[in-house]
Amino acid sequence: MLGIGLLKGLGVTAKNLVGSFHDPARLVTTEYPEQRTKLPENYRNFPFLVYDGTAAIDGLRCVACKICEVECPPQCIYIIPDRDEKGRPTKKPKVFDIDISVCMSCQICVEVCPFDAIKMDQQYEIAEADRFDRLLLKREALAKPNSYYQEIHPAEAAQVDAMLAEARRKADAKAKAAAEAAAAKAATAKPGAANPPTRPPAPSGSTPATAAMKPATAAMPEPAVPPVQPTQTPAENSATGNPVAPKTGTPGA
C-alpha cells in the first residue's frame, strides 16, 4: 500500500534519533579537540628524520645518500650532502628539506631508506597561515629522537632497533676480527713488537656514525625486499625483537 515504505523509513530515522541518546553505536561522533580517536600504529602522515642520542643534527641516521630524494614520487625532498673543510663528503645532510605542502604521505622514502633514517610521523594537526616558511620543513624541524619513534611506532621501532643492534654487533665482531687478524699479522711479521693497537683501524668513513652505518648497509647490500616490514605477526616480532634493548646512545660515540 502506498506509504508503507515511507513509514518504514520514518521508523528507521526514529530509531536512530532515539538511539542517539542511549546507544553509542548510534552516536558515533568523536568530539575532536577534546576527544581523539587513537591512531593506529601504522598511521603515517609526514616523514621525519630519526636521530640517535641527544644531539639532534649530529645524531641523524641520515647519510645524505639521496635515495629517498630520487625515489620520492612527488619529489618533495631536497638534500645537499655536507662536506668537510677538505671537500670530502661527511655523510651527513647539510640541507635536508621536505616540502610538506607537496608530500603525499606515500611512505616510499621510508621503504627505500636502507639506513632506517627516515620514518613517518603521526602529527596531523598542522594548519598554517603561511605556506612558504612554515610548510617547508628544514633539517632542524624534521629531526626527532629515536624515543619519539619508539613512542609512535612501538612494534616497528623495536624491530628496527633490533636490526640495527644486530648489524652493529656484527660490525663490531668483524672489526674485532679484523683487528685481531691485523694484530696477529703484525705479531707474526714483527715478533716481539709492541702492543697491538687498542683501537681497530677506522673504516674509510671518518665519523663514528658512518662507522656504525656502514655495517648496516652491509647487512642489507641491495634492499631488494623492503628493509622494514612494519607490522609483522606477533610471532615474528618476538622472534626478531627479543634480545636487544632499544639502543639510545649514538653508535660508536
Binding site: 619529489q75 625532498i77 645537499i80 628539506d97 616540502d99 617547508l136
Partner: protein, 221 residues
C-alpha cells in the same frame, strides 16, 4: 579462442588487400597484437565484432602511444682489400638517419558474449606531423567515442569519421598535445623549494644569482 595467427589468416582471406601484421610482445604477458593498416581498418573492426567465432563486441581500452623520431646510427663495416696486398682493411662507416616516428592507437578488444579476449589491434599513423589521420572505430564500438577524443586531445591523432572530435580534457584554445614525448610544459617554477633534475634546471631560471658561493645551501629568502 583462435590464435592471433588464425585470426590474421582469416582476415587476410576475407580482405586480401589488407595490411596486417602481428606484433610480437616479448614480455611474459604474451599479449601479442595485430597491426592493422588504416585503409580497411573499419571493415576489419566490424568483422571482428560480428564474426560469430570472435564476437569481439566489447572494446575495452583505446589508447595512444607516441613513438618519436629516432636517430639511428648505423654502422656498416666494409672490408677494403688493401691495394698494397696486406690483409684487407676493415672500415667502419657510420651513417645517421632519422627513423620517422609515428603515433599508434591501441585497441583492446574483448568478447562479452563469448567471454574471451583480449585481441589487441593497433593502427599507426604515417608520421607525427601531417599524416596523423586514422579511421575512427567509434562507429563500430561506441566506447571509443570519448577515448578517441582523448587520444586526439593528448596525442594529436585525428580520427576520421569520429562523430564529435573535439578536445576533451584540455581547453579548446590549448595548443599542442601534451602526452607526446616531446611536449614541453609551461614554465611555472617561481617557487620550487625541492627541485631536482630537469625541474631544477628549469627552476634555476627563476632563482636569483647566488650572491656569494661561500654560502652553499643557504635557504636565504
Amino acid at each position: 579462442m583462435e590464435s592471433l595467427e588464425q585470426i590474421r589468416d582469416r582476415l587476410l582471406s576475407r580482405y586480401p588487400g589488407a595490411e596486417l601484421s602481428i606484433l610480437n610482445n616479448p614480455s611474459p604477458s604474451a599479449q601479442h597484437s595485430l597491426v592493422v593498416g588504416g585503409s580497411a581498418a573499419r571493415e576489419i573492426a566490424a568483422f571482428l565484432r560480428d564474426d560469430p567465432a570472435l564476437q569481439l563486441d566489447f572494446c575495452s581500452n583505446v589508447t595512444g602511444v607516441d613513438w618519436p623520431d629516432k636517430e639511428i646510427v648505423e654502422t656498416t663495416r666494409t672490408t677494403i682489400p688493401d691495394p698494397a696486398g696486406g690483409p684487407p682493411k676493415l672500415v667502419e662507416q657510420k651513417t645517421k638517419r632519422i627513423q620517422p616516428g609515428y603515433l599508434e592507437v591501441v585497441y583492446h578488444l574483448y568478447s562479452m558474449a563469448l567471454k574471451q579476449g583480449p585481441v589487441i589491434i593497433r593502427m599507426r599513423t604515417g608520421n607525427r606531423t601531417d599524416q596523423v589521420t586514422l579511421p575512427s572505430l567509434t562507429p563500430v564500438w561506441r566506447s571509443g567515442e570519448f577515448q578517441e577524443r582523448e587520444v586526439f586531445d593528448l596525442f594529436g591523432v585525428v580520427f576520421d569519421g569520429h562523430p564529435d572530435l573535439r578536445r576533451i580534457l584540455m581547453w579548446d584554445e590549448f595548443k599542442g598535445h601534451p602526452m607526446r614525448k616531446d611536449y614541453v610544459e609551461p614554465d611555472d617554477y617561481e617557487w620550487e623549494p625541492t627541485p631536482h633534475d630537469e625541474v631544477l634546471a628549469k627552476a634555476k631560471a627563476h632563482y636569483p644569482a647566488p650572491a656569494a658561493p661561500a654560502a652553499p645551501g643557504a635557504n636565504a629568502k
